[in-house]
């Protein structure tokens, strides 16, 4: 085991007995969710529309998520990015976490955990998330 970064408090450590296996949970939930969505769409079932767009004609911050996923499923990265850049990044992140989760579960590797994230980094990350969300929404409003 070694410290990945003392500054960020990231550690690779073994899972304690009876400790919640977040990697398994994440993989199972996101995998099950994706499979269910795929089956739903394969059946040709109607996909619920965005009620914000229906009511106001304006997109909500998550509008384009379904089209983004469909574009990704067809390997159209540019199209997926165009539909909703932030969701595209989230899908990419989810894929990476799933790959990591599958690897640690398969090879019984130590798990990545945060010890104590400094509050300054927490605040910076929070501010970045708000900026990204706002910028993404303006992008969607501009391209509606």
């Amino acid at each position: 085991m070694r410290t990945l970064s003392r500054k960020f408090g990231l550690f690779f450590r073994p899972l304690a007995p009876k400790e919640t296996d977040f990697e398994f949970l994440f993989l199972a939930v996101s995998g099950g969710f994706a499979t269910s969505c795929y089956l739903w769409l394969s059946l040709g079932m109607p996909w619920p529309g965005c009620w914000v767009r229906r009511l106001t004609g304006l997109p909500c911050p998550t509008c384009g998520a379904t089209h983004c996923a469909l574009s990704l499923a067809h390997g159209d990265l540019a199209g997926a990015w165009w539909h909703n850049p932030l969701i595209f990044i989230c899908y990419g992140g989810t894929l990476l976490i799933n790959l990591y989760a599958a690897a640690v579960l398969l090879f019984r590797l130590p798990r990545l955990r945060l010890a104590n994230l400094p509050s300054q980094i927490k605040r910076t990350l929070g501010a970045l998330a708000i900026v990204a969300l706002t910028a993404n929404w303006f992008y969607l409003l501009a391209n509606r």
């Binding site: 085991m1 070694r2 410290t3 550690f11 450590r13 073994p14 304690a16 007995p17 009876k18 400790e19 919640t20 949970l25 939930v29 996101s30 099950g32 969710f33 499979t35 269910s36 969505c37 089956l39 739903w40 059946l43 079932m45 109607p46 619920p48 914000v52 009511l55 106001t56 004609g57 304006l58 909500c60 911050p61 010890a115 104590n116 409003l141």
Partner: protein, 307 residues
């Protein structure tokens, strides 16, 4: 170097060697707690942890068994005040004791506790111990709901088929759409909906927990929030009542979740309510303001064009 401490699967945090030693001396930690630090292959009990000294005769840790009910059928009469003092005495709801009570009895008792006595029920709700129990409860509620709604839809499709011209009546309602499906497809849809709903509970718990953390209203981890959301799904039993059922269960579920969050995270009710409704408020509020601004701009420009 920091030491991670874990008790019965629950992380207690990271501490220095001196802090752990002091914790052991003051009985805040017990020799059976597990510790891990960088360089170790596995977790070790603190009694065997290098550099720590444990006292030979220490009192056992505060366990759930010391305050566990004498009979599984009769929960002990622990008041809110008592529970507030006895941290870690939480053992509810009845679903957590389903092995002793039996599945059906535990389910019915949980409904009763959650629906009619939510304040005490959430105060005595276990906030750790894994995701399995709340997950199973959530799954059970979703399965019951999906099963009965499929039955309703099948009955509905029979009614539609019996009514001339009704099948061509277009509606955006999901019930109406699925009512027009063949029976087998209705069942397939039900099977697909179940994992979708169960998965979305994890997502909604995550969003709620993040919003609560934003208002500094969290005193427990994500698991506690997930448990509140799952057990609040008790209200779904009312969704089986045609027409008004959805409305009643939806409102009641919101109320239960707010009570649950405030009791479990020991925060104010308004904080829990704002955290729960924040995503909706933000979306609706900002879109509403934008919409008003666009209308105002359109009116101003048309007025300008007329003059």
């Amino acid at each position: 170097m920091k030491i991670w401490i874990n008790r019965a699967g629950q992380n207690l945090g990271t501490f220095t060697l001196e802090e752990v030693q002091r914790g052991l001396d003051q009985s805040r930690f017990v020799p059976t707690d597990l510790g891990w630090q960088e360089g170790m292959e596995t977790w070790k009990p603190l009694a065997e942890f290098p550099g720590l000294q444990t006292l030979p005769h220490q009192e056992p840790p505060p366990s759930l068994s010391s305050v566990a009910p004498s009979s599984p059928d009769v929960p002990p009469p622990l008041s809110e005040v008592t529970l507030a003092i006895v941290e870690g005495a939480e053992d509810g709801p009845a679903w957590e004791r389903r092995k002793e009570l039996g599945l059906a009895k535990a389910l019915v008792q949980t409904w009763k506790e959650m629906l009619f006595n939510p304040t005490v029920s959430f105060t005595r709700m276990k906030t750790n111990g894994g995701f399995a129990s709340p997950f199973l409860f959530n799954l059970t509620m979703v399965v019951i709901y999906a099963f009965f709604s499929t039955i309703y839809q099948l009955l509905w499709s029979v009614v539609i088929a019996a009514t001339a011209g009704a099948t061509h009546n277009e509606s955006s309602s999901m019930i109406a759409i699925s009512a027009g499906l063949p029976p087998l497809l209705n069942i397939v849809v039900m099977l697909v909906v179940i994992p979708l709903l169960v998965g979305s509970t994890f997502l909604s718990a995550g969003i709620t927990h993040a919003c609560l953390a934003l208002f500094k209203g969290t005193s427990k981890n994500y698991e506690a929030t997930y448990r509140v959301i799952c057990y609040s799904y008790s209200t779904w039993i009312f969704a089986l009542v045609p027409c008004a059922g959805w409305f009643v269960s939806g409102i009641w579920c919101l109320v239960l979740t707010i009570i649950g969050l405030s009791k479990v995270h020991k925060t104010e009710g308004w904080r829990a309510a704002v955290a729960l409704l924040l995503p909706t408020f933000v979306c609706v509020g900002i879109v509403f303001v934008l919409y008003i601004a666009i209308i105002a701009a359109a009116v101003a420009s048309s007025h300008h064009a007329n003059t």
